[in-house]
């Protein structure tokens, strides 16, 4: 795994991709996207449906050609040097499809071993090892059409790892999985990240992005909104901590609302959230709450989900 390349694993510069459906106006899927993914980084691409996530992954995976701009993987241009990019990448595309349902898992993987030019003996050993790693050995000789969605996703991942690629593109790998299956798949992705593979992951799931990714890029309508660490993105929404408490009376709420440096006081279910916009206000808020007899008090920061909703708006949540 890996090679002499020592620069960024993925570089995207001013990438534009348009589609021209028949008898309909042109669709602009990507509008001048630029980003950089370091070697060994787990990078999340977060955005609503139609944001351009899958199009970007398909261009990086040499499946689609860009309309303009450039993209490289480990220094190779995905358009001009596609044949040298392909052995370096593994791809998991979202959804149920991408497997041969009437073959067994072992046969699927043996076929992909052949497509990746592995010697028959090495291919067999690699297939056995991947089936074991993905926990599929016991069902390896069952047809894939009998597999659960979680098992299929693990098989997708095994296929993507067949040739031990240094860069992985995972397009919404946990979408549609039950919580347990999603957690298992995330654990495997975490292990892969520990092997210093570069992982480019698209997802709708904020918790997944926060748990797995060192940096996250937010994309909407084909434009990059921000690229930061999950924590830095949270700080973009609110540079300041905020206070949440249970059992605040109307008088306490009124008192805090009038306090200089408090930007908002809002109900949050049975709790109350106090947002501040100045340094040094949180201790005063805490003091007043405790003085009013409110003892259940927490100091928090915005979650990535809140950042996402703030930047993208609620348009994307109907996924």
């Amino acid at each position: 795994m890996g090679g002499p390349w020592s620069g960024p694993a993925v570089v995207v510069e001013d990438l534009v991709r348009t589609f021209q459906p028949k008898k309909r106006p042109e669709v602009v899927a990507l509008q001048g996207v630029s980003l950089r993914v370091d070697e060994g980084e787990v990078h999340g691409l977060l955005g609503p449906n139609g944001a351009g996530k899958t199009t970007l992954v398909k261009i990086l995976a040499t499946i689609l050609l860009p309309t303009s701009g450039s993209a490289t993987v480990l220094g190779r241009d995905v358009a001009a040097e596609a044949t040298s990019v392909r052995p370096l990448i593994g791809i998991v595309l979202g959804g149920d499809r991408g497997l041969y349902n009437r073959l067994t898992a072992r046969q699927n993987l043996r076929y992909w071993a052949a497509l990746h030019k592995l010697e028959p003996g090495a291919g067999r050993r690699r297939v056995d090892a991947l089936l074991e790693r993905m926990g599929l050995t016991k069902r390896a000789d069952d047809r894939v059409q009998t597999y659960s969605r979680g098992m299929r996703q693990r098989l997708h991942l095994a296929r993507a790892l067949m040739h031990d690629p240094p860069v992985l593109f995972l397009d919404e790998p946990t979408t549609g999985l039950d919580p347990l299956a999603a957690r298992e798949l995330r654990a495997i992705v975490g292990e892969l990240a520990g092997e210093r593979r570069t992982i480019f992951l698209t997802t709708h799931d904020m918790a997944e992005a926060e748990a797995l990714c060192q940096r996250v890029t937010l994309i909407d309508r084909g434009r990059i909104l921000a690229t930061e660490t999950p924590r830095a993105l949270s700080e973009m929404l609110s540079r300041y901590e905020r206070v949440e408490c249970d059992g605040a009376t109307d008088e306490v709420v009124a008192d805090l609302s009038a306090l200089r440096g408090v930007s908002s006081v809002s109900a949050l279910g049975l709790s109350t959230r106090i947002e501040v916009d100045s340094d040094g206000v949180v201790p005063e808020v805490m003091r007043r709450l405790v003085a009013a007899g409110v003892t259940s008090v927490r100091v928090t920061r915005p979650t990535l989900e809140e950042v996402y909703l703030d930047l993208v708006g609620r348009r994307g949540m109907d996924v």
């Binding site: 050609l65 044949t83 499809r97 497997l99 041969y100 073959l103 497509l115 990746h116």
Partner: protein, 269 residues
């Protein structure tokens, strides 16, 4: 691993996928015999009967041999439709992004229809010919099998070339394969001798598969010498090789066009 060994391995796996998705999914041995084989035998017998109506044994033999061989070549056109199977499975983009040319995998998908065609065609000949007093060249059976394989494979190469275009436009898959079958039936000497056609049609027929191979098979039935048969067989091999080269030359271009306009990722499912 040698390049040829690698390609054969991919072809083998692709053939298994194709078999499981088509013949293996649709037929049991019993339903294949009753649903496909008997139908093909009846089709050959129908054309032989038309020859009887014309009143000359030579016409019976011409129609019987031509249509029995057409059964096998017709089976080859399944590969034209098989590209769509990769779209339905969602595997086409993954094949395009694999280090092996997707053409190899797509060629393999219809491969099970080559033995299917050979068995059906030979079976039809063996059953129908005695019923219509047409003598089978039993002593030259290996040569007949070799020639039948040659025309089936050369037709398969043409069908692969067409598969590249179907890949761009999957909605045309049935039309393309059926029109190609009809063209071959009409202009390759299956039911109508080439001599009745204008010069330009005869010229076009020279670059179509089946024309020369079928002529060689007719010569085999007529007891012609090996040199005559081999000459026509060589021409058939050249035509098949030409279509293969054409497939190789156009396929990457067609795949790149699909990557450019996005049609490579569209699904028919």
């Amino acid at each position: 691993m040698s390049r040829l060994g690698h390609m054969l391995r991919v072809l083998g796996w692709a053939a298994l996928v194709g078999f499981r998705d088509t013949l293996g999914a649709v037929y049991t041995v019993q339903s294949w015999v009753l649903g496909l084989f008997v139908r093909m035998v009846a089709q050959v017998a129908f054309f032989a009967s038309l020859g009887q109506l014309l009143g000359r044994q030579a016409d019976v033999e011409f129609l019987l041999i031509g249509n029995a061989i057409m059964v096998s070549t017709s089976s080859s056109f399944t590969v034209t439709v098989a590209t769509v199977g990769e779209r339905d499975a969602g595997t086409l983009p993954l094949l395009v992004a694999s280090p092996t040319s997707p053409l190899v995998a797509l060629m393999g998908r219809g491969a099970s229809f080559v033995p299917n065609g050979l068995i059906t065609s030979l079976g039809a000949l063996a059953i129908v010919a005695p019923l219509y007093d047409v003598s089978l060249p039993w002593a030259r059976l290996p040569a007949l099998l070799a020639l039948l394989t040659l025309v089936t494979v050369s037709t398969y190469m043409t069908a692969t070339f067409l598969a590249g275009f179907v890949l761009r436009s999957p909605g045309t898959r049935r039309t393309v394969s059926n029109v190609a079958r009809l063209v071959m039936m009409a202009f390759c000497g299956v039911s109508v001798p080439l001599s009745v056609y204008p010069e330009v049609v005869r010229a076009v027929a020279q670059v179509l598969p089946l024309t020369h191979g079928l002529k060689a098979i007719r010569e085999l039935f007529a007891g012609a010498g090996a040199s005559d048969i081999l000459g026509d067989a060589g021409l058939e091999a050249l035509v098949g090789g030409g279509w293969l080269l054409l497939s190789l030359a156009t396929f990457r271009w067609l795949a790149d066009a699909g990557r450019r306009d996005g049609s490579i990722v569209f699904s028919t499912a």
